[in-house]
């Protein structure tokens, strides 16, 4: 098997007393898309910036294509394309001028600028000043700049945050095509579960600087031993002591008023009859009863105790 294209080994980074990254190991193979998920302040941006060479780890090692950053900056900058969280480009430069500036850094000619304008569908806006672009157009410009050097590795920090679903989907399609056509490798941080599960085959969940889970979506759900959810809401309150008597339950989350419960199970077929029996025995009138597959969102809440967008 080929060596991973990105390799992060036992990396730590501290800011005064805060452990921003606390012993993270990560490997990304060529052509693989990996999503880094975590609530705000989990350490995602710090980790990505260390992989980008912007910050240096306090301990541990990072290798890109088998090379550390130190001494290989010039070469690694050529193979990486990146977009940072909230970069403001020069306001009174046009889209074309901005692309030309960055193309100049890589020694690329005008033809590449035209290709990027075409790829990001910013052709109509090529002579518009950056300050007059919409949020979506600015994100597309940031992506265009990330792609200008035909990078083997893409490092994107929240590339679609704040965009409407249409604009987000446009960016997804561009990224999907890159993987199919050029076997690009990508590390993406995102707040959107849907984005992670649509684009990436591998998912890493981090919180407080530590990796909580990593693998494909299916692997994560299997490993969590709860891949299905029963949601029940009732008119009268239920009691936790009674609910726990139902066999083979992985986790029960009862609402404060006791009128709604989420039961996370690993085998719906065996548990559902027991739940129905409980409803019958307790003479409970169900308001809603829903059974569904567990999503990445559910898994995230289970692992971190927080929603992805929570502060």
């Amino acid at each position: 098997m080929a060596d991973p294209i990105i390799s992060v080994r036992n990396v730590r980074k501290y800011f005064r007393d805060t452990r921003a990254i606390d012993g993270v190991d990560l490997e990304i193979d060529k052509g693989e898309y990996l999503a880094l998920l975590g609530p705000n302040g989990a350490g995602k941006t710090t980790l990505v910036e260390m992989i980008e060479g912007i910050q240096a780890p306090d301990s541990g090692e990072i290798f890109i294509k088998g090379k550390p950053w130190k001494g290989h900056e010039e070469r690694l900058h050529h193979v990486i394309g990146l977009s940072l969280q909230e970069t403001h480009f020069i306001e009174k430069l046009t889209v074309r001028e901005t692309l030309k500036l960055f193309a100049g850094f890589y020694g690329l000619k005008r033809a590449r600028v035209a290709e990027i304008l075409d790829l990001t569908r910013l052709g109509e806006k090529e002579n518009t000043w950056v300050k007059n672009l919409s949020g979506g157009q600015r994100q597309k410009l940031a992506l265009g700049i990330a792609l200008i050097n035909r990078p083997e590795i893409l490092l994107l920090d929240e590339p679609t945050t704040g965009l409407d679903p249409g604009a987000r989907r446009e960016i997804w399609e561009i990224l999907k095509n890159l993987q199919t056509e050029f076997q690009t490798t990508m590390l993406l941080t995102t707040h959107y579960m849907e984005e992670a599960s649509y684009l990436c085959e591998k998912i890493v969940i981090i919180d407080s600087g530590k990796v909580l889970a990593k693998g494909t979506l299916d692997q994560l759900l299997i490993e969590s031993k709860c891949n299905e959810i029963i949601s029940l809401s009732t008119h009268q309150p239920m009691e936790l002591s009674q609910l726990t008597k139902i066999t083979d339950l992985a986790q029960i989350e009862l609402s404060n008023d006791g009128c709604a419960v989420r039961i996370l199970v690993n085998d719906l077929i065996t548990v559902l009859p027991a739940v129905l029996k409980y409803i019958d025995a307790q003479k409970i009138t169900p308001r809603t009863l829903e059974c569904r597959k567990m999503t990445l969102d559910d898994l995230f809440i289970r692992l971190t105790g927080r929603h992805l967008t929570e502060q």
Binding site: E49, E52, G53, I54, Q55, E74, H77, H78, I80, L82, L84, Q85, E86, T87, H88, F89, I90, K92, L93, E97, K100, L101, F102, G104, F105, Y106, G107, I145, N149
Partner: protein, 356 residues
Amino acid sequence: MEQLKQLVIVHFKEFYREPGIIFWAIVFPILLAIGLGFAFTDSRDERRTIGLIYKNTDSTDWLNEEHFRIFSEGEMKLGNKKLGYTTFHFEETDRDGAMNMIKQGKSTLAISIEADSLNYHFDPANPEARLSYLLLSGYFNGYGDKTGDQIVVLKQTGMRYIDFLVPGLMAMGIMMNCMWGISYNNVDKRSKKLLRRLVATPMKKSNYVIAQFITRLSLSFLEAVLLLSVTHWIFGITITGSIGALLLMFISGNIAFTGIAMLTSSRTSNPQIANGLINLVVLPMMVLSGIYFSYHNFPDDFIRIIKLLPLTILSDAMRSIFIEGRGVLAVLPAAGILISLGAVLYTLALKIYKWY
């Protein structure tokens, strides 16, 4: 080379697409030179109000007809064509009224009529009051209005206020251009995370700094040429010394202030802090380095310190080329100091520069 070319083009576009910057960097110094040039280069008629304090009617016995005529008319014009004319307007008041006039800035001097003389009340530290005193006491002591007879007017190029002012403004233009154009611009880019985005590409940091230096040098040059052309046209300003020496000082000044600007902008990512830091560097030099008025009125110990300021070194050297006709050799020490200062500060700045 492509990197450098693109960076220079972008820095120029950033400049000329901001009309505000064009005004402050190019138009304002020219307006300032014209305004101050007209205000202080030609003598003109002045009007001054004097508080006249009558103690009581008994005390006026000794006054002669001339005194009575002037005080009753309430106005007197002294001076001549060479010196310019000063019209004194006398306003009768009591002691408190006269003091209030001085406090309010309506007047700088009051005259009280005593039993056998006129007394002059003023702050001797105020040059305007001192001049009024000399003119009035001379006249009333019987010398009449003879001032001006022995005056030889120096109006040749090089001796006027505008000749003093233009080289100073040119030096200040270099300082302002570098401090705001490099320091503020870089902190602004850092605060917007653009600086870190730029250095996350194969862009060479040296190219970035060289491009900024080239842009600022060109813009200072453009500003200086415009300032010189306009003041030459209006006031007949000329460079009596060597153009080569002026160019040398021009480049040395830009090197020194690029170093200072890089050091000033080396750490902070807050444009408001940058604003404060830049003003901290710029304002003392604007006031002390003798741009508008000579620093030789300060105490000697203080002058020794003032002479060490980079803007003083630059403006003094430029002035010596403009007015005293100095050449390259004469300004070499000043150029050497400025270039060394720039190089040391630039090296130091790069060691601590926060690109990310």
